[in-house]
Each structure stands twice: as C-alpha cells, then as structure tokens.
C-alpha cells in the first residue's frame, strides 16, 4: 500500500522491540467478540493512483459545472472568479497540511495570514474585530444569535423573513433547545420592510437579525434599525450571502451593526457543491470576550520580535468546556488563507470592479427582460427575484435555458415552502458576460 512506508521486515523488527509476537497481540485489549475478519469489509478493492483519477474523472464528467455552463445560481453560493494564485497558495503543503497553530513558533505563516485575513475582513465589513472563521454563513448566524444572548442576558431573537431561509432554519434549530422566543417577521414582499422588523423589537429582545443585501438581493437603508436597537438595548446583527457586495456598497459596520456574519465564499473559494466555504464573523471590539471561535492576536517573542499567537482562548471549549462561548474547534482556517490571498490580489480597486461588474450584469439582465417577466423593484446588488405569468412558463424557460447550457436560476419554492411556484431567484457575478445575458434573455423569449 503506497501510503504506508513499512516493509514486513520493519514491522517484524518493531514487534520484536515492543516485545510481542504479532500485530494481533497489539489488539488483545479489544474483546475478541469485536474483532472483525480482516479484509471482510464491504468495500471495493483498493485502487491505484491511476484508478482513482479514472474513477473521479468519470464521476466528474457526469456533472455539469460552472466551467461548461453559464451559472445564474445564487442563494448563498456564487460562481466568482478564483485566481490561480489563490489555489496555488492554499495548495502549498506548509499551509495545507498543518494543524491548528498550537505551536506558534512553527506556525507563524498560518498565524500572520490569519491576522491579515482578520484585518481585511474587518475592514471590508466595516467592523472592529474578526474571528478566524466559523463553518459557514448559517452556523455563523446562529452563533451571532447565541452571542447576543450572552452579551445582553436576554433570550428573545427577532429575525427578518428576508434573511436567507437556510440561515433562519439553522439559527432556529440551534436556539430551539434553549429558553426564549424566536420570532420570524414575514415581509410580504421580495425585499425587507424594516418597519415590520422594528415593530417586533421589545425590551426582552437580545438581537435583531437582518440580511443586507437581503436574500432577494435587495439593498436598503439600515439606519432606522440602529436607532430601534439602541432604544431597546438589543444587538443589531447583519448577515450577508455574498461578501463581494461590500467592495461597492456601504458596509454593515457603517450603519453601526454590532455583529456581522455571512459567507466569504466569494473571496476566491470554489463552490464545491456546498463546501468548504467560509463563515465570516466580525463584531465590535467591546463584545470581544463573548465572541465564538478562534482569534489570532499580535504579540512579541522572547527576542522582542513581532509575532502572532492564538489568543483569548479562555472563551473556548478546551479551557471553558461547558461554559465556552461555542463548541467550535476545527474551523475553516485554510479558507481564511484563501480569502486573504484573494483580497491581497484584488485590493480596493479590484474588489470594487468585481462588485461593479456583478451588479452591472444584473442591471443589464433586468433592463432586457421581456414584458411577461417582472423583476422585484428597488435597489438590488447582484441577485433578484423574477416573477413569471405561471409556473409552467417559468419551467419552460428553465428547460429552454438548460438546452443552451445555462442554469437560469433557483426556483424560489426550493427555499420557501408555500410559495406559488412561478418565481425564480437569479444571481450574476463578474463571470457573466454580456453574451451570457443575451442568451438568457433569448431563452426567455423562445419559451414565452
């Protein structure tokens, strides 16, 4: 077996040194009734490296993907540009095959990259501090709700119905075993009506969670929410699905958000059928001690040189155990390195261009819609809801687009039960060219 260095001679010599006769003796402490017959597992025969490549190539060929289609799918995952350099950096064995930086002297590379990530993601979201990642956006949202309970010592959570339904479901699920109300505020439109959200806030409320741009891609003024939160001493939590937006639009931090959470997948991380992605978690510095997850901090070494360590560990499970701020241990560290590399390559200018192109593609699409298809009104970033005359018409369009190798969008009922099946969530990124939009529109006309 090519991953195992020992020869049988090595094994014999080692057994001899240990003082046992054979390998089985090393397992004598496991009651014999639990020993299974070696080789009896219901698995196929081991494959050579070539065999593995063939197997996966064959499986991969059965899938359609963003490289051989045009992808207008969003809903939390987006087909953005993944620079070759990002993949190169995270393929380097020193980053890829290291564990969590428990021995900082020989993990300064990971640690400095984390520190740079924390700095840049805090700046992009307009916040003071960041942790070193959560699993992904939905669990990050749930962790924000839990943190707000600790900070405020209150237990009621209010969440807007325009937050990605998956973040809502996961958050509700995390909170459902704990005391306290979970209030979802229906919006009655494909957008966010802050007045409805604000009307639900009371003095028992620990936090209000909204999404910006919201699940439907709509962008709106968050300022009234800050006032309402101040009036009731509750935390303002802002979620997002596509962090590229903040290359262009005002950051949640600029509106005074207390905690900002969401997906950093847009920062050079492939869609990979749902993961690994990057859960972003940033907040105000005053709440630092209640923050979940690992953080990297600056310090000096014995010679007085600048260096980095994981810090504030007393919040975490390995020290605080049942009183920890979260149970998270392994996080998405490598994805922070990817995001740091990506942001370094882009800079402010590149991030702005990516966002402008993503938004411009949607504008173009909406401007060309035939009269039988209606887009949600108001300011949108790179995602919106299209409404068709009927479900059949919509499905005919999806099918026509598929013939042209276009994934036209996600039927909204996939996210929201009990909704009429005639709506389509469409997203654009800088990977969509003008021709792609034209072909999508052409498919709409053919299917009309």
């Amino acid at each position: 077996m090519r991953y195992l260095p020992h020869t049988n001679t090595d094994r014999q010599a080692m057994l001899h040194d240990i003082g046992v006769n054979n390998i089985a003796d090393l397992f004598a402490d496991i009651p014999s009734e639990f020993h299974i017959e070696l080789g009896s597992m219901n698995l196929p025969e081991g494959l050579s490296e070539t065999g593995i490549v063939r197997k996966f190539t064959k499986a991969a060929e059965k899938n359609r993907h963003a490289g051989n289609t045009r992808c207008f799918l969003g809903g939390g995952t987006y087909h953005h540009f993944v620079p070759a350099v990002v993949d190169y950096v995270i393929s380097r064995g020193e980053f890829l095959t290291a564990y969590t930086p428990y021995q900082p002297e020989i993990a300064q590379g990971t640690l400095q990259a984390l520190f740079e990530y924390q700095t840049m993601i805090a700046r992009l979201t307009g916040m003071e501090v960041s942790n070193a990642s959560m699993y992904e956006a939905a669990t990050a949202t749930a962790e924000a709700a839990l943190m707000a309970r600790r900070v405020t010592r209150k237990t009621r959570t209010v969440i807007a119905g325009s937050v990605n339904p998956r973040y809502r479901t996961v958050t509700e699920n995390y909170l459902s075993r704990l005391e306290g109300d979970f209030v979802e505020v229906g919006m009655g439109k494909f957008g966010t009506d802050l007045s409805k959200v604000i009307a639900e806030i009371d003095n028992k409320t620990a936090c209000v969670i909204v999404q910006y741009p919201d699940f439907y891609g709509s962008v709106y003024d968050l300022a009234p929410l800050r006032e309402a939160c101040d009036a009731h001493k509750c935390l303002m939590v802002v979620a997002f699905s596509d962090v590229s937006a903040f290359g262009l639009i005002e950051s949640p931090g600029a509106y005074g958000a207390d905690i900002v959470v969401g997906s950093g997948q847009a920062l050079g991380i492939p869609m990979a059928y749902g993961g690994p992605h990057l859960g972003v978690f940033t907040c105000k510095k005053k709440y630092l001690r209640q923050m979940p997850g690992r953080v990297c901090g600056l310090t000096t070494d014995a010679d007085g040189k600048r260096g980095f360590v994981l810090t504030l560990s007393t919040r975490e499970q390995h020290i605080r155990r049942e009183k920890a701020t979260s149970n998270i241990c392994t996080n998405q560290g490598l994805m922070c390195t990817a995001a740091a590399t990506y942001m370094t390559l882009m800079g402010d200018a590149g991030l702005a261009t990516i966002a402008e192109h993503s938004a411009a593609a949607l504008d173009l699409l909406v401007s060309k819609l035939p009269s039988h298809v209606v887009a949600a009104s108001g300011a949108h970033y790179n995602e919106t809801v299209l409404t068709f005359e009927s479900g059949d018409k919509r499905d005919a369009f999806i099918a026509e687009a598929r013939k042209q190798d276009i994934f036209a969008g996600i039927p909204l009922e996939k996210f929201e039960k009990n909704i009429e099946p005639k709506h389509l969530l469409v997203a654009t990124t800088e990977m969509i060219e003008e021709d792609d939009v034209n072909e999508l529109i052409a498919a709409m006309e053919v299917a009309a």
Partner: protein, 492 residues
C-alpha cells in the same frame, strides 16, 4: 553538535512584513472579466463612502508574500507531526488533484439533481462506506467538523428521548478525560454535564459511572480509544449500563484511526459516532480547518438524522429535504463536499484488502514509540496503547524541566511537538500519535531526540531546553501580552 543527527537546520528564512506595510500604492486596476457598465442609480445611492482600505499587491508580490509566510510553517509534508488526538497523517496529493476537477470543484449546490449525479454518487458511496467502517446503519454528511457532529448527535439523542416522552432527561455524563468540545456541545444542546472521574487506569470507572446513572441521564459521551490512548475494555458493559438506565451512548470518534478495518464501534453498543474525516481519512487540516464531522447512527437514532439527505432509487440520486422526525438542518448545504471527495479517494486507495492496515500500522507505530520511551519518561497508564501513547514530564520535573520545554526543544531538533497538557487527567501530559504513514526511520529519529532530551535532563544540561526554540523564525511568544491587550487587526 548532536543536532546534525536531526533534520532541522537554520537555512535562509526571509522576514516578511505585513502586507499592509509594503510601502507602495496599490497597482493599477487588474483586468477582470464581466459586464462593464455603470451600476444603476438605485444602487449607486448606497455606494461606500470610503473604500475598505485593502491595500492590494501585484501578482508577483502576492505570491512572494504568501510563499514566504508558508515557509514559516511546519506541515505534515515538512516533517513528523505526532500531535496526539489529531491524527496528522500524510495527505495524498492525488486527492488534491481529483478534488479540483472542474466537474467537482465548480458545482453549485442548488444545481438540478440530474446535473450532479456524479457528485451525489460519490457522496452517497462515501456515506455507505463510513457506515460500514464504523459499523452503523446510516450516516449523515452534514456536520462540518467533529464538534458540529457532536451537536448533531446530541440533537438526535434529545429528539429520540423526547419521542419516548422523556423530556426531563438532561444530564450528560462526560469523563474528565474528554475533549472540551464534548461538554461544550452538550451545553449548546440545552443539557447539563456531569464529569466522571476516571479510574486509576485512566479508563471509565464502572462504579463512578453507576453512581451517576439515574432517571435524569440523557447520554454518556465517550471516546474509545480514550484520550489517554487506551481501549475502554469494558465498553460493552458501559453501554449496557447506560442503556439500562434509559440513556444513550454518544461516541466521540476522533480516535477511530485505532480501529479502522479491525473493529467497529457500532458493534460495541454505541448509538452514534462522529468521524473526523480530517483525522482518520486524511483530508488536510489546512492550519485549522476545514474538516468534516459525519455522524454514523444505529437504528435507534436513524429516524432522527438531519435533512437534507441523499436518497438512491434505481441508481438515480435525489435529495430529500423533509422528514417529520428529523432534527432538521444544521448547515446551509448537504455538507463539506470538497472534503468528502478527498476522504472518498483515501478509502478508495485502501479498499477492503488494505483498510485494516491503517489501524494496524498506526497502533504498531504508537506502541513502538512507547516501548522506546517508557524507560525514560513516566507512563501514567501501563499496558498496551492504541494509536497514540501518553507520557508525562514527572521524571523531568525534578530537573526543572516541564512538558513545554520538551516540546519546544523538539522544534529545534526538527519535529513538531506532540499534543501537550491534554488530556487533563494527568499532570504535564505529552500525547504522541505517530499515525500509519510514518516510517521506522522517522520514528527512530524522533525517539532518539526524545531520549537525548531526557538524557540532557538527567545530566542537568537543561539550558538548551529552557531557551528553545532557537531555530524557527520566532522564539517563544508572549501569550500573556497577547491576551492582556488584544490586537486582532492591524491599525497601521
């Protein structure tokens, strides 16, 4: 200098500033794809008033910056990494290659099912294999890491007890040797924990367990082999006792590497088990993650598995999103698919004919290291170990040397230290997990280093241990300063 025996040298190590400190202005705009046009006036009203202040470097500078940083790291590709409880084994390169195939890497999670049959097939296949290897009836791939798996498992246990009308059961028994995520997950699940004091042999003490079994018990969380690296030989009786008391048994599968292909936790009476695929199934740990924490369950817990789930009908895969009894959803997507591609490839390479060699060589290596070191380091729990061995610094203490010094000295000799100060049940713990992908030559070299350190202690020649490490780009870092005045972002 004895150091020449070991791999560590001090070659050129480049200093590298923070990227924010590179002096020059950001380069001209880069050529990016997409629709070039003005954004709508609706959206323009929301434009950022000030840029985020992300400096940006040119492509060659970016590459050099991160390559230099990478060179300050020690990874499993660089050298031995015997971090106990973490199973740092070689991460096959072909797994990286296949995970990057466009048909696997650039697939959107909401593509229509008929366009992802290859992906669903690989995931479903892995699900079946994990159930087989762990000895359970089914598996969920949704949990994103071990701790997330603990939460999923406990949620299923909660739901199962609720279904039995036993909402009052909220006590979770956790041995004092358990990993911190165990009690933290129990708390997150709305339950409270009671710590079980380990017996004199480091194992679960049956009398102590019995003392705490009553009508409040929801579950016992146990790790087998335990975090001291020894097998819980009473496992059958332990599970029986908990079941008789009306509770369920949660298995922390972080140490599954000791059993792969040789014995199956599901056969021993556990109700569920999380699997850290970033440990046992070789997916790279990435300097902190990502991992994945699939949970295997028996028939008792199967009805409560999370959704969405992959189901197969006549070779066609589809995704089930609703189920009355399910605990619901704990992640935005089906799971960390990219990680699972690599795990599938790892198991594919071994197959039924080689899979048991994982546990065999892992256990052989740990016992070999133990046999070489036990005469000079204190072994708190006598006997065979499984895939990792536990030592302490008791004998070095009398020379003023602590576990931390030994760990830091190993760095100067070219090795990543073992896990230190865990488990908490012994003073000055050193938990060594060599894994199956290390050669005898590497193990011998590491043991020589450990013997040499012990000899230096005996000889009172301990200065090098207190000063260590001297060779890496940084020496011991001041953790107190970092925690007293936290600086988590660059303010320059």
């Amino acid at each position: 200098m004895s150091e020449n025996k070991y791999s560590a040298t001090s070659g050129i190590q480049q200093e590298e500033p923070l990227l924010f400190e590179h002096a020059h202005e950001a380069p001209e705009s880069i050529n990016l794809p997409g629709v070039k046009g003005e954004v709508s006036s609706d959206l323009a009203a929301f434009k950022r008033k000030t840029p985020a202040n992300i400096p940006g470097l040119s492509e060659p500078e970016t590459v050099r910056h991160f390559v230099r940083l990478s060179q300050w790291n020690h990874g499993i590709e660089t050298g031995f990494y015997p971090l106990g409880s973490c199973t740092m084994k070689y991460n096959p390169r072909v797994n990286e290659q296949i995970a990057r195939l466009p048909g696997l890497a650039h697939v959107h999670p909401d593509q229509p099912e008929d366009s992802v049959q290859g992906m669903l097939g690989l995931l479903s296949e892995l699900q079946g294999w994990l159930a087989e290897i762990a000895g359970f009836s089914d598996v969920t791939l949704q949990p994103a890491a071990g701790a997330h798996g603990e939460l999923a498992g406990l949620m299923m246990i909660r739901k199962c007890l609720d279904a039995r009308g036993e909402q009052n059961r909220k006590k979770v028994l956790v041995p004092d040797s358990a990993h911190g995520t165990n009690p933290a997950s129990a708390a997150l699940c709305g339950m409270y924990t009671v710590e079980l004091k380990s017996g004199a042999d480091g194992r679960i003490d049956l009398d102590e367990l019995k003392k705490h079994l009553d009508d409040d018990v929801a579950a016992l969380m146990m790790t087998n082999p335990n975090t001291a690296g020894t097998f819980e030989t009473d496992i059958k009786e332990i599970c029986q006792l908990v079941h008789d008391a009306g509770g369920l048994v949660y298995g922390d599968g972080a140490n599954l590497n000791a059993l792969v292909g040789v014995a199956r936790p599901g056969d021993m009476g556990l109700d569920c088990l999380h699997i850290n695929v970033h440990k046992t199934f070789s997916t790279p740990h990435g300097g902190g993650g990502p991992g994945a924490g699939p949970v295997a369950v028996n028939d008792t817990l199967k009805p409560f598995l999370p959704v969405p789930r992959i189901v197969e009908n006549d070779g066609v895969f589809s995704i089930e999103t609703e189920d009355e009894q399910s605990i619901g959803t704990i992640l935005s997507t089906l799971g960390q698919s990219g990680v699972y591609m690599r795990a599938n490839a790892y198991i594919s390479a071994f197959g039924h004919n080689h899979i048991h060699q994982i546990a065999q060589d892992a256990v052989l290596n740990a016992n070999y290291v133990l046999s070489k070191l036990k005469s000079v380091y204190h072994v708190p729990f006598e006997g065979l170990c499984k895939h990792e061995c536990l030592l302490t610094d008791e004998w070095q203490n009398k020379h003023g040397v602590k576990t931390l010094d030994i760990a830091k000295r190993l760095i100067d000799l070219g090795f990543h230290p073992m896990t230190v100060y865990f488990p908490l049940i012994v003073h000055g713990a050193m938990l060594i997990e060599p894994t199956e992908t290390e050669s005898k030559e590497t193990l011998d070299s590491f043991c020589d280093a450990m013997l040499e350190i012990a000899a230096q202690c005996e000889a009172g020649d301990t200065q090098a241990l207190h000063d260590a490490p001297l060779k890496p780009i940084r020496r011991r870092l001041d953790e107190t300063q970092a925690a007293r005045k936290p600086v988590l972002v660059w303010e320059g």
